[in-house]
Amino acid sequence: MKKYLLIIVMLTFAFSCTTLEEEPKGLLTPSTYYKTQTDLDAGVSAIYRPYMEFFLNAQGSIPTLAGDDVTTRLGSNKGDYREFDQFQYTAGNGWLQEHGWNHLFRTIFYANAVISNYTNAPEGLEREQAVAQAFFLRGWAYFQLVRTFGPVPLVTTDVASGEEPRSPESDVYDQVIKDLDFATENLPDIWPGEPGRPTVWAAKFMLAKVYLTTAGWPLKNTANYAKAAGLAKDVIDNSGHDLMPVFRDLWLVANDNNVESVLAVQADNGGDWGLSNRMPLSIGAPDDSPGNGWDDYFAEIAFFNEFPEGPRKDDTFRTSFAGGSLAWEETIQGNPYYSKLTGYSLPQNWQNSLNPYVLRFADVLLMYAEAQNKADGNPNGDAYDALNKVRRRAAGVTDNSVDLTGLNSDEFHKAVIAEAGWEFAGEWHRWYNLVRNEMVAEATGKRITDDRELPLIGASAGSPESAFQKFYYAPIPLNEMLLRPDWDQNPCCN
């Protein structure tokens, strides 16, 4: 018997595995990644994902609903839009969190992974160009955040504690400028076949925009007007980009990545829902046909009425619906809709591949006009040329019949801001232009106050600018505040 016992004892021990160590066969680990150019490129590709998602869904517009170019409807599920339109912001705005906050911080998260580790890859031009994209996208994301929320936590490496304070605007802008400086120094002139990547011109364009913004509210660092003008002029003169001759041609899918597009998000309506442009359906009218949209946002009537007539107006708005049987006043909402952003037809299958513009050449013209005038105290000839170039196309003329001349500095400034409002109506620009120029009261004052428009709640159409100041910044999202009760909420919502 003993021998069997012995066998069992031996067997028991023989069964014992020598080690219980794990050997993951399929996992990529950070310590062994970002070592080659291929790794780095894949790391950069990831950053584009949340950046694209930000632009491809109408909900990215939510903070800009406070502007006078857009409004939304009562009822339905538009509460998150309505809060901004009616100046009744709440921290519980879920779409603001998802689209206005999470996508941007995820862009930063992915960018930081590349930025913190890229030096492990072999040195060379390709490496610098790869990481320059990461810097560009991080700069863009922080710029978008700081002008929407004001002070935000600054995370610039791949390690975050979760205990970062909200850094003041000036610190955030300094970081944005640093990032974009790196991008301007290292991005190439062109990405052949890959128009979705930022070029050096996109970086300069973005940097000009940042300088222009820092020259206004809240930093009012007016010395930056000159920097903005210089960069804008460089883009105008040297980038090779130009206006498209016909405004309508900007919004046709066939013209994606045209000469006016300095940077555009590359939408595709193929397989990946998150990478298709879902805006067209969102901003359509429910009583339109063919196709019926969801009313996410449409034009304010006063803004539409003031919008100068011409091909640009015709091709910005949809004013007749259901095969011409309904005028805009007769729709359920009784507002004009934005046709340009839909590519002029509502998609039947929820989405299309129209590339949303991130940086459009017309913008750099108007930015130059604004910055030069502010920097030098008077508009020069180039500024007039830039402004009038946009006006001529808008009116569909090539002569000087719609040109502005002989304005004083203030008049010129107002003309530029108004022009930018019309040129970029519904493109999520208007609100930020109003805030940095502290013109919210002026714009909102024109709002129709009868039941054709939603009533304003937190402020009224006749309120002074001081009444709107608490609405300059969107609220820090609720779930973030719950985790960081030590943060102060923005004035809108504390």
């Binding site: 018997m1 016992l5 066998i7 067997l11 028991t12 023989a14 069964f15 595995c17 020598t18 080690t19 219980l20 794990e22 050997e23 993951p24 066969k25 399929g26 996992l27 990529l28 680990t29 790794d39 590709s45 990831a46 950053i47 584009y48 009562l74 009822g75 709440t90 519980g92 879920g94 779409w95 969190q97 998802e98 906050w101 999470n102 911080f105 992915y110 995370v155 975050a160 970062e164 979705g196 939408a267 595709d268 193929g270 397989g271 829902w273 990478l275 019926n292 969801w294 359920i332 909402q333 299958n349 929820w350 590339n355 709640i457 999202p477 973030e480 719950l482 985790l483 909420q489 504390n494």
Partner: protein
């Protein structure tokens, strides 16, 4: 490692074969003997245990008290039955033994499976509940977890979804963890981590539930959630028994939710939007023609929702072999259109005696399951929620005959019909378990038991959704998963009695388990040919593919001592050491001790002569157990792959980005549990009761912490914090009436459990990940130090501001008709005159105060009546559907009947805000928190056994007919479909959320049971 293992297993098999050949020559010849167990009056005792002393070879007497067992002449048989004195009989040369058991008030010598062996009931010092098939015999059961519901105290079984084939959430004495799986460990015939869904309930011989640390401590790092030990049937009868059992169940939607008619809804929409969305003519047309009844569109009832459960088994035993072979077929059509569950299962349990000292068993179990469209119930985008949210003004089908896919005024875009018919989410699972066991009496008092098992599970999720099922492009995927699990267990046991008074058992166990899985997935999006579904993924615009693997192992050593002095004073102590591959550091080894003592007061002289109390045992135990239920490689930092983006206008390129935060210091959760209890029996155990108090403290609780989103929207797994569960359990059983023709058995159980967070590491509070039940900005739950688990967070509403409160309302920026939210707090911790996130507070708790079950079986002659009541008391439910259908939240509609009672200047005494109110409203609002208390008639059945006299002349042994109803009556104030469901599913912390979960159906069952 796996290769090495396979080699060794091979070696072992050779060894076993060689050994068994040797064994035949060396040991005494075994022989089958038969016997009869009767009581002192000569009446047969069915179900008596017959055990060969010093072995685990046993038999059970049949209906006529007969048993057969394999013995050798030197063996001693131990014959035991509840309430009778255990007898020992030397076999000698007898081949037919008649044993008359004397009733004994003081004895309770049923043998109980306790894990790695058995113990006499009277020796047990831990808290162990048993469920036997006779407890649920009168209830039609297709899924084994249902057999546990309401049967034993401390075991909470919730059907959080009523979908066909869905497994109930089982919690033994509460959940110890926050993020970790808190399901008990299932051990089927000695195989750890077996599949409980794949188990055919008809195969169950016994279920033991190990609740306290001294019982579950045997399973160390996997024991902290409690252990459910299932033993499957063995052949018992000398003549083969063929049993056929068939159940036909028709199912019904439990109730209908009050919704507006189409005309009413159209009017409400007009009033709330301030525009004429519906013209008077349209409204009139709705009034005349009605609208869409979405419940009718997506639910089916009666024989259209048929559940069939057929079972056939053959069992028996001959001299050295016993066998049990069964086949099972379940087909459950479910009450929701296009959902169903099917199972086919076969089992063969074959045991044989190689010699009088060597026994072996081969158990093979195969099952094949299909679950169709039973998932996706926790979000709003499921047919059940959609049917509540969707506007009745929208037709179910468009002019093209296809489901509606964009509805106005419905909150969500995709209609119930579009979701219900546009998705085919099929999960095919097949499961094979091979189990070989061997039991060898090495020398006198020393035995060796081996269990070797391998389980192979292959599952294939084949998914298709068409262009209407949601807003996205049509998509199909196939996800294949191959899972294998190995186990070998060696048990050496020494048992002896010294000086009559000292009984000692020593046990050593060595065990290794190993699991590996490999998965692959291919997805086609933008399907170009919808008819081809997932059968041709190449017909798509884009593809994504992925694969992955994991392996993990645990090696364990167990030592156990069981000691009894004079059968009065009992001691059990266990130490288990586990080593897990999942923890990459110094914590990979852990030791789990436990100790228990018992005092059988009824054996003391002052009670031993009592005519009333025949049994009284006091028990106390303490011990530690663990929960290692994290995924393999959890402690490795890893990157996320397949992040798609486009830079050229059309080609998706896949990027790599950082994943979640990782933690090298992950370790087990450890639960220390104290249990105090006593068992008492009256009048020869005609009435018995057990009471237990327990307190469990789980430390190093694994938390999936959501840091602020700004660090990337990621989560982190940490060991932090401590959770305490304490509760009280009572079980009362008795035979209330006991006549020859009339018998009434009743069993009542009651339990409480309260879970509290004692510590949360460095945090004062945490927000567990998940919980967006009401939409993307759902508030979820908050766990605070010192607070209870299961809190529902939200705003407290104190009704609606009235016209006489205009001034007060304006402080909060509200006007009459707006919600009156309570100003609970502000940035500085005091009310600040504004409704902000600071005012979010606890508005309910989803954990019940107590649960109870009451089972009654009344037999009269050939009739058996069963009434089984099950209840949960004191839990709150956030009725998210009601909130959303009252216009709150991002995905809201106004389809609730409550809308008719909205505030107006003439109707100010209401809790529903004015239709035009735009004042901030979250679905997490105290007005939508309802009391979930329910008392449910889980089963009522009447069965009739055909008289033997009719069957005498046939080959049929018995015929039993039954008619039963399940969930026919539920007493509750809850306004949703079902107060038992929870959108949080098996979550430990998200309790009491209803977002339109698949309701548990009402059903009526006809049953037929024939034995040959």
């Amino acid at each position: 490692m796996k290769k090495q293992f396979t080699q060794l297993l091979g070696c072992f098999t050779v060894f076993v074969l060689a050994f068994s050949l040797v064994g035949f020559q060396e040991v005494n010849a075994q022989q089958m003997i038969s016997g009869t167990v009767v009581d002192e009056a000569g009446i047969p005792i069915p179900g008596a245990n017959v055990l060969v002393e010093g072995t685990s070879t046993g038999s059970v007497s049949d209906f006529d008290g007969n048993f057969t067992i394999s013995t050798s002449p030197t063996d001693v048989l131990i014959i035991s039955y509840v309430g009778y004195v255990t007898q020992k009989v030397s076999v000698g040369n007898q081949t037919n033994i008649k044993i008359a058991l004397a009733e004994d008030a003081a004895q309770l010598d049923e043998v109980v499976v306790v894990g790695y062996g058995t113990q006499k009931r009277s020796d047990i010092t831990g808290a162990i509940s048993s469920v036997s098939p006779k407890d649920f015999a009168e209830q039609p059961i297709a899924i084994a977890s249902d057999a546990l519901q309401g049967r034993s105290p401390g075991v909470q079984v919730s059907n959080s979804s009523g979908a066909p084939g869905s497994v109930a959430v089982v919690r033994i004495r509460g959940a110890n963890s926050i993020t970790n799986n808190s399901s008990p460990l299932y051990v089927i015939d000695g195989v750890l981590g077996a599949s409980f869904t794949a188990l055919n309930p008809a195969d169950i011989q016994s279920i033991e539930i190990l609740k306290d640390a001294s019982a579950s401590g045997l399973y160390g790092a996997r024991g902290s959630n409690g252990v459910i030990i299932v033993t499957t049937k063995r052949g018992k009868s000398d003549t083969p028994v063929i049993e056929f059992n068939s159940l036909l169940t028709t199912q019904y939607l439990p109730n209908s939710i009050g919704k507006l008619s189409a005309a009413q809804h159209a009017e409400i929409v007009n009033s709330s939007s301030g525009t004429t969305e519906f013209s008077p003519a349209e409204i009139e047309a709705f009034r005349t023609n009605g609208g869409t009844d979405w419940e009718d569109e997506i639910y089916r009832e009666g024989s259209d929702a048929l559940l069939q459960n057929h079972n056939l088994s053959i069992s028996g035993r001959s001299e050295k072999i016993d066998y049990y072979i069964s086949g099972n077929k379940v087909n459950n059509l479910g009450i929701l259109e296009n959902s169903n569950y099917e199972r086919e299962a076969v089992r063969a349990n074959i045991n044989f005696e190689a010699s009088d000292k060597l026994r072996m068993g081969f158990y093979i179990n195969y099952s094949d399951e299909l679950a169709k469209n039973i998932g996706n119930t926790s979000s709003l985008f499921n047919p059940t929620a959609a049917a509540i949210l969707y506007s009745p003004t929208v037709p179910a089908y468009g002019d093209d005959g296809r489901p509606t896919h964009t509805g106005r005024f419905s909150g969500i875009a995709t209609s119930p019909t579009a979701i219900a018919f546009g998705r085919n989410d099929n999960i095919y699972t097949d499961n094979t378990t091979f189990n070989f066991n061997l039991n060898w009496d090495i020398v006198e008092n020393v035995s060796y038991t081996f269990t070797g098992a391998r389980r192979i599970q292959h599952s294939s999720n084949r998914f298709f959704k068409d262009d209407l099922a949601d807003l996205q492009a049509p998509q199909a995927f196939v996800n294949e998963n191959e899972f294998q699990q190995y186990q070998h267990t060696h048990i050496v046991e020494y048992k002896n009695t010294f000086n009559e008074d000292h009984r000692l058992s020593l046990k050593g166990v060595f065990e290794e388990t190993w699991a590996e899985s490999f998965s692959s997935r291919a997805t086609g999006t933008g399907l170009t040919n919808l008819d081809r579904s997932y059968f041709n993924l190449a017909l798509a615009d884009t593809y994504t593919i992925s694969s992955g693997e994991s392996e993990s192992g645990i090696r364990s050593y167990v030592a156990r001592v069981e000691y009894a002095f004079k059968d009065k004073y009992l001691l059990t102590s266990t130490v288990r050491q586990d080593q897990s591959s999942k923890f990459q550091n110094k914590f990979s080894n852990a030791t789990f001790p436990s100790v228990a003592i018992g005092w059988r007061v009824s054996e003391e002289s002052f009670l031993s002569d009592s005519n009333v109390i025949n049994n009284l045992k006091l028990r106390a135990s303490w011990g530690e157990t663990g929960n290692e239920g994290v995924g393999a490689y959890s402690s490795f930092p890893s990157l996320v792959t397949g992040i798609g983006s486009i830079v050229d206008g059309s080609t998706i390129i896949f990027g790599v980005g950082p994943g979640g935060l990782t933690n090298n210091d992950l370790k087990w959760e450890t639960t220390a549990q104290l249990d105090l209890g006593f068992d008492i029996g009256f009048f020869n155990n005609r009435f018995t009761a057990s009471f237990d108090y327990y307190k469990k403290n789980t430390t190093d609780v694994l938390l999936t912490v959501t840091p602020p989103t700004y660090i990337g929207g990621i989560t982190e797994l940490l060991n932090a914090g401590e959770i305490e569960n304490k509760g009280f359990e009572a079980m009362l059983e008795g035979t209330i009436i006991d006549n020859e023709d009339f018998q009434w058995d009743a069993a009542f159980n009651f339990s409480t459990n309260k879970a509290t967070a004692i510590s949360l590491g460095k945090d004062e509070f945490i927000f567990p990940a998940g919980g967006n039940f009401s939409g993307s900005n759902g508030i979820g739950t908050k766990i605070e130090v010192g607070g209870e688990i299961g809190n529902i967070l939200g705003y407290i509403s104190d009704g609606v501001w009235g016209t006489d409160e205009t001034a007060e309302a304006s402080v909060f920026g509200a006007v009459p008709g707006d919600s009156k939210y309570r100003d609970v707090s502000g940035p500085s911790g005091v009310p600040d005159g504004a409704i902000t996130s600071d005012d979010i507070t606890t508005i309910g708790n989803g954990a019940p105060d107590f649960i109870w079950g009451f089972n009654n079986t009344v037999s009269y002659k050939n009739f058996t009546l069963n009434l089984f009541v099950q209840s949960m008391v004191g839990h709150d439910i956030l009725n998210i559907n009601r909130a959303l259908t009252n216009g709150t939240g991002g995905d809201s509609s106004r389809t609730s009947i409550d809308q008719l009672n909205a505030w107006t200047t003439d109707n100010q005494n209401t809790t529903i805000p004015a239709l035009t109110s735009t004042y901030q409203q979250q679905p997490e609002d105290s007005r939508y928190v309802e009391d979930g208390t329910f008392i449910r008639l889980k089963n009522i059945s009447l069965a009739y056994n055909l008289p033997k006299s009719i069957l005498e002349s046939t080959f049929i042994d018995s015929v039993r007919l039954s008619l039963s109803g399940q969930n026919l009556l539920t007493i509750t104030d809850y306004e949703g479909y079902d107060p038992e469901v929870n959108a949080g599913g098996g979550s430990n912390v998200f309790l009491g959320y209803d977002t339109g979960v698949y309701p548990n159906p009402k059903s009526v069952t006809f049953g037929l049971n024939v034995k040959f």
